[in-house]
Structures are given as C-alpha cells and as structure tokens.
Symmetry: C2
Subunit: 520 residues, 2 copies
Amino acid sequence: MKRRIVIFDTTLRDGEQSPGASMNIEEKFALAEQLARLGVDVIEAGFPASSGGDFEAVQLIAQKVKGPVIAGLCRALPEDIDRGWEALKGRAQARIHTFLSTSDIHLEHQFKRSREQILEMAVAAVARAKGYLEDVEFSAMDASRTELDYLCQVVQAVIEVGATTVNIPDTVGYAQPAEFGAMIRALTERVPNIGQAVISVHCHNDLGLAVANSLAAVANGAGQVECTVNGIGERAGNAALEEVVMALRTRPDAYGGADTGINAKEIYRASRLVSDLTGIMVQPNKAVVGSNAFAHESGIHQHGLRAHRSTYEILDARAVGAGESKLVLGKHSGRHAFEAQLREMGMELAPEQLARAFTRFKELADKKKEVSDRDIESIVADETRAVHEIFHLDYMHVVGGSGILPTATVRLLRDGEPIEQAALGVGSVDAIYTTIDQLVKLPHKLVDYTVKSVTGGTDALGEVTVRLTDESGRVYLGRGASTDILDASARAYVQALNKLAYDHETRAGRVTPEEAQGQP
Amino acid sequence: MKRRIVIFDTTLRDGEQSPGASMNIEEKFALAEQLARLGVDVIEAGFPASSGGDFEAVQLIAQKVKGPVIAGLCRALPEDIDRGWEALKGRAQARIHTFLSTSDIHLEHQFKRSREQILEMAVAAVARAKGYLEDVEFSAMDASRTELDYLCQVVQAVIEVGATTVNIPDTVGYAQPAEFGAMIRALTERVPNIGQAVISVHCHNDLGLAVANSLAAVANGAGQVECTVNGIGERAGNAALEEVVMALRTRPDAYGGADTGINAKEIYRASRLVSDLTGIMVQPNKAVVGSNAFAHESGIHQHGLRAHRSTYEILDARAVGAGESKLVLGKHSGRHAFEAQLREMGMELAPEQLARAFTRFKELADKKKEVSDRDIESIVADETRAVHEIFHLDYMHVVGGSGILPTATVRLLRDGEPIEQAALGVGSVDAIYTTIDQLVKLPHKLVDYTVKSVTGGTDALGEVTVRLTDESGRVYLGRGASTDILDASARAYVQALNKLAYDHETRAGRVTPEEAQGQP
C-alpha cells in the first residue's frame, strides 16, 4: 500500500534565512521554477509582511510558477494574514501558513502572553485566513517543547475553525526521533478531529537529527514534511529534502510504503542551484548530494562494487541526476551545437543572454579546447543571473607574486562612462578590490571570499563567490567565473557591488526585530 | 544514573578512506594527539597490513600518544592479525579490531564462502588475536543486512573465544533508526553471553541517518559508538563524533543518562584540524561545528535570543570551543607576546618552527595591522606541517587581468640550487602552475583547487588547498596561506609536489584491490 507524503519546501523562506543567503527576486523566481520541476507539492515562497521584496517575490511566484501550491508565511496577526492574501490572491493553489509559539518557554520569555490568549490568537488567525481561502496551515512554533495536553488543545481548536494542515515544528532542534515519533502518534490518538487535517513536521538540525525526526514522524502518522534543498536554514539548518525523499524511496518497507511525488532526477540540479544562489556550499561527505556521496576510495570496496553494485552502494548516482561531468563541446562547436546542448541540459535563455553566453563559450573553448557540461552551466549561470549593471568591468591589468608589491589598474564603465584608477594592495586581489573601491565609492565590507575550480586541471574555470555587507548589515552575494582567478575575482566583486547599488536605489525596509514575533 | 558510552574514533582509518583525504605520518600523529586531547576512548589509528605507511603510523601512534586505547584494523586472516600485533606491541592499552562480512549479499557476491566457513574464520581470527592481547574487537561487516539468527550465532561464537567488543556496522548506510535500535535490543536479549562484551555500532551516512542510528543503538543497549570528526569517511561518511556527543550531552534524559568522556571544548579545534589536514571542508549548516551552527539571521529569532538564550538556542558555542575569531596581536607585538599567544592556543612548536612562524607573523602584521587567532592558526599550520622540502619557492612575478595574456616568472630552489622559468597560461594561476610544471617535471594531474579567506576583509589571509594525483591515482594535498592569492596558490602547489616527490622516493605500495577483502 502506498502512502503519499506531501513535500513542503521552505528553501525560499527558512532556507533564505541562513546567514548570508538572501536572494533577489530574479534568483527566487529561478529557484521556484526548479522546485516546480523537482515536483515539490508546496513552495513556501516567502513571508509577505516582512518586506516589500518578500511580498513581490511571493506575488511573482504565485502568478507565474506552474504546478505546486504556493504558500506565504504570516504571523498570527490580522495585518499579516491580509498582506499574505494580497500576495497570493488570484492563484487557485495557494496556502496561508500562519504560526504562533505554544511552548511555555516562548510564552514566558518572548510573548508575555497566557496560554488562553495564545489559543485565542491562533483560532482568530486561522479563521481570518479561512475567510480568504480553503488551504490554511497552522504551525505551533516550538511544539516539541510544548506541554502535550496544551498542544492537543491548540491543534483541535485550529482544526475546528478550518486548518487543513497542522504543523508540529521542532524549532530549536531539540527533539530525539523516538520521542518525536511518539509525540506525533499521541496527536493522532488524542485529538478527536485530527482526521480532518494533515499532520506536518518542520525539524531543525541543531543536533544532526532533522531528517531522522522527520522520518520518525512519517512512521507515526505525519503526512507532510517541511524541508529545504541541501538542508540549508537558520543555524544548522532544516531537514534536507533530498535525504528525506531518498530514505523513503530506498526503504519504503520501513515506512509503511510512504513515498513522495518528487522527481528524484532533478535533485542534483536543484542542489547545485541552491548552493550557487546562496553561496552555501555542500560538504563532500553530505548524504545524497555531496561530491563524494557516490565515490569509493578503499580498494576493498571498489572490488566489491565491481562484483555487485549493491554490495557497497544502496543509492545510484543517476537516480538523483548526479554523475561525472562530461566533455560535450570543443573549439569547433558552433552556435547550433551550443544551443542543442543547452536544450539538453534543460536551460532556456533569452536571445541576448544566449548571445553573451555563446561569446563566453567561444572564448573558453579557445583556451580550454574541451568544454564540459559543468563549464557550460557555470558560464550560463554567470550570464543569466539578472543583475542591473550599473558598473561594468572593462579593462584590468594586475602585477603580483612573491616579494612584489601587488598593483592593479582597472577601468570600469559607470552607466557607460569610463572611470579609471590604479592602486596597490597587500595581495593581488586586495589590489584589485582597493582599486575598484576607489572607483565605486559605496561603503561596504567584504565578509567572505571563496574560489573553487569547476572541473580539474590547471586550465579549469575558477568560480569566485564574494559576500559583502552594507552599513545596515544586509548581505550581497557576487559570483564570477573565468579561467583567470583575478578576472573572476573582479567580476564577482563588481556583481556584488551592482546588487548593492541597485538595492540601495530600490529596496524597501524589512521588518525590524522589534516589530516581529516569531517563526517556526 | 549515568551510563558511560565508549567513543571509538576512526577518523584516521575510515575517515582517511574519504576520497582525497590521505594523510602522511606526521599529519596522522598530529591528529592523534588532538584526538587524545579531545578525550576519545579508542583511536583506530590505521590498517597495519594495508601498507608500510599505515603500519608505521599505527606503530608511531601506539608508541607515542598518551591516553586512549590504540586500535589497529585487521582482516580476519592470520597474517593481518600478526601484522596488527607487530604494530601495536609494547603498548598496554592496545586493541586488535578484526572484521569479516556476515551478510548473504556479501558472502555470495564477494567472498564466495558459506556461512559455516565465515563463522570458522571469525572464531579463528578472534582466537589468534586473543593470543596476543586481552582487548579484541570483532566486526560483523554489513551486519544490518545480515539475517538476525545468523548474526546472533556469530556474535555468541566470537564472545566465547574472547571478543571483548562486538561491533554491528551499518556498512552501506541502509538501516533506519527504529529497526536498527530493535536489532541491537534483539542481540541483548538473544545472545546468552552478550553481557561479557560491549556492543558497538559503526554507522554510515548514505541516507543521512548515521547519527540517529548510533543514538538509537545507544538507547537500546550499545555501549560503544564508532565515529569520525566532521563525519568524514567513505561516500557520505560516518557518524559525526561531535553530533553523537552533543546529542547525548544535551538530552541525557532521552538516553537513560548515557554520556561520553569527551572534553567538548576541544571539539571545534579537532574539527578545524581535520578539515585542514584532509581538505574536506565543513558546510556552514553542519550541526555543532558549521560556521552558521550558532548564528541567527532572522530578526525574530535574534529578538528571542536577546530575551532568553534558550528560546532559540539549545547549544552554546563556547561549550564546543567555538566562537568569534578574536584580534589578538598587532604590528608592535613582539616575540614574547607571540609565544604567549601560541601557548594560550595550546600550540607547541619546535624552535625552528617557532622562528619561521614568528617571521611570517611579523610580515603579516606589517600588512594587516591587526592579526586574529585564526590568522595565527593558519600561519602555524603552514609552518608546522612537516613537508620534506625538495623544491622551495624563491621568487615569483605574475602579470594577469582581463584581456591580458597571463604570464608568470618563477625561481625555485631544488635541493638549494636555483632553477628559473617563465611561461604563460590561460589564467594567472595556470601560468604559475605551468611554469612550475616545466621546472619540476613530475607527472601529475591537478584534481581540485579551492581558496577561502581566513577572516573577512580584503586584506585577509587566503588559504589555498590543492589536490594532485600521480599516475597511480594517489592523492597529494597541498596548502598555502598568504595575503596574496597568487603567492598562496604557488605555495600550495609546491607543497603538494614536495609531498609527491618525497612519497615517490620512499613509499611502499598499498594492498591492491585484488589482494583485499572488505572493511566495515
């Protein structure tokens, strides 16, 4: 017998709350499209009342992305729920997700409200949302530390006024699988109207147990799992979508035949996109999507593997869309071959993006001779991440080495006008960034700088990721790819500065901590 | 009531089998010393029969590292056990760990032996080890896919001949927590002499459940957990030591008061050392040791956190020795201040290492003005990783940029004699590496290149990690730190080439896949 588990993806909401992971609206839209291809049932697209940017992103995704239910997070306040509805209205498959803390520790230290007051607020919020649409989810924040009798009472009350999903978050990552499973079991046995709603779980990974807790809940009656791609999210993150999905698919016997509607072949691509957009890399030993997840070093295991795959491997790399990078094009490949390759990789580009990407491909093929699918992915990512280009890198000359005073000469175009400068630094990249800073004149701080090579070989493309913060602490990610690390470093820096400059011209303020209340 | 759980660390054995993670003997020794400071009960130092290098490392660690039991892994073959004893003898706290597959899938596809033959081999191996020492562990490889009756029979038989620890590995990461816990429970109930041995578990992370499975086993009677720092190991790795330890310490109520003897304040330092030595980085959202594990982005949670720490955080960064990098020294700091700082950070250097590290510190302080504890750690790591320096980087001049043909001029000293060359490349780093290749003339391939900044700011130290393979596929890791990324890139490359050159002069061959049999 098959049990269908609903996958509620919160990469765009809880995932985006990871330190430094903020995405702009174009990036959020691109990720939502990939989540739809992945086949998630629900996309939590944002927290509409938290900022103008979040509102617009939820609205855009609700209007344009086909397939999944689109959810908006709302505090249990009338103005939040109204604002959530504003962002979602017009879409048939929409959900309002409202939340409120139920644990004594939160009530006492943060909300300064009684259990009775909280219960009233929860019921009022669900009722208000229900006035707008049918699909309403209620989250009892910090449920795993909530007294069980009171939790049952809250769950029963919100279902009575129409909640169709009740979420039981382990907000601080405190739960252990056996007890968390027992808690879900108790809800199914003790809440009389529980059959009228789907039980959901939302687990955090502070002790490394988010996936195990989610699976224990599924085994004990939960019908929805909230998770993120690569397990990103606040602190140690959320349950990793790919691990929950592949555990159920590998061991349906252990979960009463439970399965999801996920198209597993899109997992690897979703993983790369999330790590690319957020700058949060995936460790090599990460389950399912790490670069070593399917690799074998020990001679012994390799021997066993040759003899019979299942002796040492229970997952197949191809099942999640992973595999070796392949050499696909060479220096004689023309535009038709390039376009055909993009189509095969499922990438759609606007004509001007295609033209720029093709030029970059030809430049790379001249240098590298053989170009892999990963190289193409990296070039395309460089050219399609829509950045409003206020500054453009036009020319750069750098001298560096050992025992040499590093010096950079840079020409930028600012709104098309050339500006030039030379400066020295404590290193080659510092010389470049100091020179650019003197040209751009926007206060900021570099908080992170990483480089990785896209493939092996000394002629590989290098991908540079930088993170800047402005004076208010907002984070801007820039990314650049080039066979020259100095060129890639400059591109990444200019991209991040373009985002910062554009954002300062346009962005509305976020909810400040003082105005806010709590999230699962 | 407190139950003491034995922590068996296999970072040096199973962890070292991660693709590309191989360490030399000096690196293994440095890690073993840190594991002793961390307070692990058992260090599995290697697999003595697998290679001359492994043998020497186990022997050195058995002779020099104070505190933990030192274990050597041995196949269930007389020659392996004899070789293991050779490496360990002379140490009072030593363990032979012998292993053999027990699952039908392994017996049929790899070993081509009957259950009866396997049982005889297991008993003979334990008996032979017992002739050498008291502390003998037997692992039933692929136990989680072994028929339970047969597993009970094997466990009973090896305990009868003196096994003091019986290990139940989930070799392929197939088990789910509830069933794995039930399996351990069944062993405690069905094996009559089980009270004479400690039950151990060794879980792999293919579905993200290694830690949860280990904890489920502890809840059901296991007294030893095998794990690795940062959860490194083959494929998706092993159970992460730091997660198992902190879950038990945070929730002793859920595990009958079980606790370990780990000195948690050494966890963060052990984590950084392992990632530094193996080049396997830790993702920001990794539980307990990730850079975001204790960070808070959402304004809501920050507000809660200010109100009362436990509202949103169950672990304290200081408990695991983590925390902000601190500015500790400046350009006017002298040698005494530098030495005092090293002592405070628990670092002991030989006089000539100290002299080199101090010179590097002064150079850095001249450039950066303020030097953090992380900077000092990085410099010291650069200077203390003993590399037999055949090639030394003496001078380098590089020109690069955008629209410029990157060119490098390099002078190396080979055994003290200057050799010089200039070459161009498709990028600045490629120009450097091509020039060095022309000077060094050793066949190899660059398989990985990454850079990260040690702290924020454009004047930060950059740490470059490169991985080379030689013609036989052996991996060599090089690491370099400098404020100039070109300088750091050259240092890392030369270090890896020095390791390769030295290894080719000295290293004995490893067991080939064909000669080998299997590992938990």
